[in-house]
């Protein structure tokens, strides 16, 4: 009797966890496994009605996607380079703006609460509405950006296109930074609350200026938080689909052809789901490797610093 009661008590947590586990399996793992299976099939629009009947292609889809001499591989490589540049710049700028704003708002002054609320506005706005507004602003003929740059300040010769051509990368970067930097600000601001004020007072009395205080106290104290923050920002920006999709529509310009949009185009515009799935799997593998490498490198660095 006692054993049965003990088993029941021990099994209860697992029983309670079961619905969440099943849901997780259904929502995340099953689509992932289906995507991996699809990447080994020649799944085109001919087999959309019954995709199980699509013939197996082995590693054929992967060969096509990594062959940089062929058009599919060449465009994928270009898209990968654009995504890497976009991610690095987005993460860097978001971190810089978020950290600077958090440091500047660390001390109490008049209007600090209002500024904190204002800075969190992009995070509170619906992302679709905000990006559509940016698309309005970047319109060539009657957008606010050209109105200010060309009509008011006369900084450009003509009215440049922002949502076409090379400028589209800049437009995408601005919108992505505007949308994402409040997260960095929020995280760094929370982390700054844990740094004792005595440290700054002692450093100031010892003659350390603001720059030295930031370099010697603030940044080292933020290191564990930054480790997670940079990783999360990188993964978000690398996988960002909503921003380019709402800003440019289904066909993003070449200069702003992020991987997520490229895979979407390969899958849903050209109806080649096999190749699209292979690209998705390669992207997943790349992100897993980068994440593991980054965590390994940063944890080693922390161990060295602690020793």
């Amino acid at each position: 009797m006692r054993t049965v009661a003990r088993l029941r008590r021990a099994g209860l947590p697992y029983l309670l966890l079961l619905p969440a586990l099943l849901l997780e399996l259904l929502v995340h793992l099953v689509p992932m496994v289906i995507g991996i299976v699809m990447s080994f099939k020649d799944l085109t629009q001919l087999f959309l009605g019954n995709w199980g009947a699509a013939p197996w292609k082995g590693l054929g889809n992967y060969r096509v996607t990594v062959d940089v001499d062929a058009p599919v591989g060449a465009t994928l490589l270009h898209s990968f380079v654009v995504t890497c540049a976009f991610s690095v710049l987005t993460v860097g700028l978001c971190w810089l703006l978020g950290t600077a704003a958090a440091i500047f708002l660390q001390e109490n002054f008049r209007g600090r609460g209002l500024l904190r609320a204002v800075f969190l506005t992009p995070y509170a706005l619906p992302i679709y509405a905000a990006v559509i507004t940016w698309a309005f602003m970047f319109q060539r003929d009657n957008g606010l950006v050209n109105h200010v740059l060309h009509d008011q300040l006369h900084l450009t010769d003509g009215r440049p296109f922002w949502l076409l051509g090379d400028n589209s990368f800049l437009a995408l970067l601005v919108v992505a930074v505007w949308k994402t930097w409040p997260f960095a600000f929020l995280v760094v601001m929370a982390a700054l609350q844990n740094i004792p004020k005595d440290l700054y007072e002692a450093a100031a009395l010892d003659g350390a200026g603001m720059v030295r205080q930031i370099r010697r106290i603030t940044l080292p104290s933020l290191r564990p938080i930054n480790q997670v923050l940079v990783l999360v920002l990188f993964l978000w920006s690398f996988n960002d689909f909503n921003t380019p999709y709402v800003l440019f529509g289904k066909a993003a310009p070449e200069a702003a052809d992020l991987l997520s949009i490229h895979i979407y185009q390969s899958s849903f515009v050209t109806w080649n789901f096999g190749t699209g799935s292979a690209m998705s799997v390669l992207l997943l593998l790349f992100l897993l490797v980068v994440t593991a490498g980054y965590l390994l490198a940063t944890s080693r660095g922390r161990k060295h610093a602690d020793a």
Binding site: F104, L115, F119, L125, T133, N142, E201, L205
Partner: protein, 63 residues
């Protein structure tokens, strides 16, 4: 007040605390936070001003 009266500066006699941030930091803070607030609020301003206009005006169908 006679014109030859020498007025002491308003900050005279008031010494800055050694832990107080320097003036350069305060000015950098002012400029940076103002620029950042402008960047953040620009789309919000466009959104609000568009929402207050008549629909014909926003969609460009006004005569």
């Amino acid at each position: 007040m006679p014109s030859d009266t020498v007025r002491a500066p308003r900050t005279a006699g008031r010494r800055r605390s050694p832990t107080a941030p320097p003036r350069s930091f305060l000015w950098t803070r002012r400029i940076f936070l103002t620029a950042l607030a402008g960047f953040v609020l620009l789309p919000v301003y466009v959104m609000l001003s568009s929402s207050l206009k008549p629909l014909e005006d926003v969609s460009g169908r006004c005569v």
